[in-house]
Amino acid sequence: MRAGISELAKKLRNREVSAVELTKAYIDAIEKLNPTLNAYVHLTFDTAMKAAQEADQMLKEGDAPLLCGIPMALKDNICTDGLTTTCCSKILKDFKPYYDATVWEKLKAQGAVLLGKTNMDEFAMGSTSETSCYGAPLNPRNTNYVTGGSSGGSAAVVCANLAAYSLGSDTGGSIRQPASFCGVVGLKPTYGAVSRYGLIAYGSSLDQIGPLTNSVKDAAIVFEAIKGGDKRDQTSADYEYDSSLAECLDRDIKGMRFGVAQEFFDGINPEIKSKIEEAIKLFERNGAVIENISLPALKLALPVYYIIACAEASSNLGRYDGIRYGYRTSSYTSIEDMIVKTRSEGFGDEVKRRIMLGTYVLSSGYYDAYYKKACLIREEINREFATVFEKCDVLIAPTAPNTAFPLNYKGASPVEMYLSDICTVPVNIAGVPAISVPCGEDAKGLPVGMQLIGRRFGEATVLQAAHFYEQSAGQVIGVYEGGVGI
């Protein structure tokens, strides 16, 4: 069994290992495996070693926070002062942010050791991480398959034990789907639970930062460390959770009401469906109440999501003009020509597609038919979620309709790829929290993820149910051999 954050923290406090030794062990493993996996795109070993020395000092002085001295990774769209952050896009080539994202500021204050920035789909737009300008990361469980996306690198480094935990961002499933494909835990918190200050924006009404970890307990620990309101992000809130979230985990699930909506299971791969059904039975055997519920507006969630996300993206990505930062084209005839050439050369195809769709749905004559209508249907989806959460505590669904795709899979059109986000996007539209936990493997040995969805700020219940499943179901997926042996 791989050491979790609490065990590592204990070893650091018992002087079984120092933060410097632990960091060196991770660096050695990264040097060995990353050339193949391509999970990290920027390595920050010098600053990591310095942070590890400082962490050892904090630990020596006593009263160090739990995450002190523990090596971790950040997705390449989370700003780190002075450390390259590119969103895996040519247009942000060599960009060095001049401030820290709030999540990183919080973790740094706790003595966290940053090993590097992880690979992702360009501007977080994709479901395989293959749109990265650095090439795709490979799934550590089977390198012929993708990691999922967009936080593919963040899932891969946790899976391959090249970081104790990582942070990703989730606009339409970008934490949960790669967590599912790589067989790790991924938590998308409630919209507003974690500050997005310093997260490079994609779809601002949907984006949320969250942890990818080896266990539900670790997800609770990291979420606890990053949550909270921030005056620099007006969409964030200071919600008062019940005591410590990590302490809620061991509460009994007897009487907990689990909702099962048929709409989440339509068109799902039968192997995945049967794994989720087994999990439902496990909850039922242990005293949970299973309710069949219905969310009819879910069938419209995908187009609603793509219309809103792309509209917001087309506006958010308007700032990339080659003047203040990032890539600039080499020859041009006017400022307008410079901006158009910079953007056309700097953005990849998927980003261009989404900017174009966003521009289309916001343009005169189409705004009412698409954007306005999508916003209205979003309210209907919110209302349906609010209604089902009056009689359910948690909803159970698959995380994705399929397991990991083969690398360079050419059989799917852009729209067919969008359809693979069917189970995750409704959660972002409604702004509710959800976790993906491994719940088995398919016939090819690829991990299957189960999604547990809660009401707004219901992270404690979601984590409690997921922890119960993890403890009761036992070893449902194979253990990845490799990475750090501590």
Binding site: Y98, Y325, M356
Partner: protein
Amino acid sequence: MAISKTEIEKLAKLAKLNFSDEELERFTAEFDEIIAFADTINQSIEGGTEQIRSVGARVVSFDDLRPDEVEPSLPNEKILSNVEGYNGFFSLERSKK
């Protein structure tokens, strides 16, 4: 609804993007499929979208706002550290003689 190459070119202009002829060909075909997908939003939901009651945004009164106080911000030289050749102004290649 089929979208024409001319419409794609107009959209590209709005989005400050440019496509080569080959890209335009491929993009127009893909975009057709994407718009057809976006159009599925128009499958009526029961009772039509007219029945969806807009709850709108929460009304914030001026009393809810924080005081407008000047606080320290990042220094200019740090913010401009990513600008190539910044020298008190943004310099671009001369484009007019």
